[in-house]
Amino acid sequence: MKHLSLKDLASLCYVDSDTQVNSKLVHHLRVCPKCLKEYQKLKTLLSDLTVKLPQIKEEEVEKLIEKVKEKILEPNFLERVKYRWDYLIVHLRWRLAPQLLIATVAVILALIILPWWRSYNIDREFNILRLEAELSLEDLNNISPFDFWEDTINSDNFLPSTPQNNFGRAHKET
């Protein structure tokens, strides 16, 4: 037979579970002396922890409320400033929370995007692109199929000329 856990015993003490579960637990206690003993021990322990709550007279409560009224309705300058400040903070926190969030995100985005946007000049970028395009078009008009061949033959560094070979010289003589 499975014994009751502390959770079950606690829910029995405080009557937290629904009636069906509760009746099952009570039934278990009837047949299991070990669990019954544990339950009684726990109940005694919890009752030992009971504190006698203070009985406050109405007059005392009224005195306390009078003190509160004095603080609230007749605050001094500092208290008034503090009250206003608290009110402002709470108002911002509760009422303007979504607006504040949106504004914060907008400011952060602006701080990131603006410097980049200022350094980026679309006209300059476009001018560079156009110049490159014009140059390449001019090149295409001027270059013949033999240009590449001539360039390679005439270049001095196509094959390195050394005293042992006469690549450059032989070519020039021919």
Partner: protein, 179 residues
């Protein structure tokens, strides 16, 4: 027709928000015993409990405009009271130790001494609990609130509240068995 406490309070809140400040006193009278008892369970000192009640009252006055009627007013008040008690104890930790030292020198009757010893034992036992478990235990054991209500006050699930309650009981049992 007899109005429930919650209905009575919500009527008073509406009047207060319309500008009738005398309603606030009536609201305080309705919640005073709950708040003072909760504070007493936390501090085990009536004067401290009264101070906490004053602080809670001022907070309620300040923030009543922001109270959303989705939750019960008492739940909202309990939440404020629990947070105020925790803050209060944090601030008073050092001075409480000093008070205890002074009280040792005073002369009390045997019955009173036994009662004080018992209270001290309970206070020490509760202070050994993790903060959330302590709050759950106080709200369930001393205030007699239901698990659902506690879960609303603390903003957590019912199963979490049950777990904290069982953990609190387990720690208390262990501590008392060790004594």
């Amino acid at each position: 027709m007899i109005l429930s406490k919650e209905e009575l309070v919500s009527n008073l809140i509406e009047k207060f928000l319309e500008g009738d400040k005398s309603c606030f006193v009536k609201i305080l009278k309705l919640i005073s015993s709950d708040v003072i008892n909760l504070a007493y369970c936390y501090t085990h000192n009536l004067e401290d409990a009264k101070d906490i009640f004053q602080e809670v009252s001022i907070k309620i006055f300040k923030y009543l405009k922001f109270f959303k009627k989705k939750a019960k007013f008492t739940t909202w008040v309990y939440r404020i009271a629990v947070n105020t008690c925790i803050d209060f104890l944090r601030k008073k930790k050092k001075t409480m130790v000093m008070k205890e030292e002074i009280m040792k020198d005073e002369n009390f009757s045997r019955e009173e001494l036994e009662n004080r010893e018992r209270l001290k034992m309970i206070r020490e036992t509760l202070n050994n609990l993790p903060p959330k478990a302590k709050t759950v235990f106080i709200l369930r054991h001393y205030q007699g609130l239901k698990i659902v209500e506690i879960s609303r006050i603390l903003g957590c699930s019912e199963s979490s509240v049950k777990t904290h309650l069982v953990r609190a009981i387990a720690i208390i049992r262990k501590n008392l068995e060790e004594r």
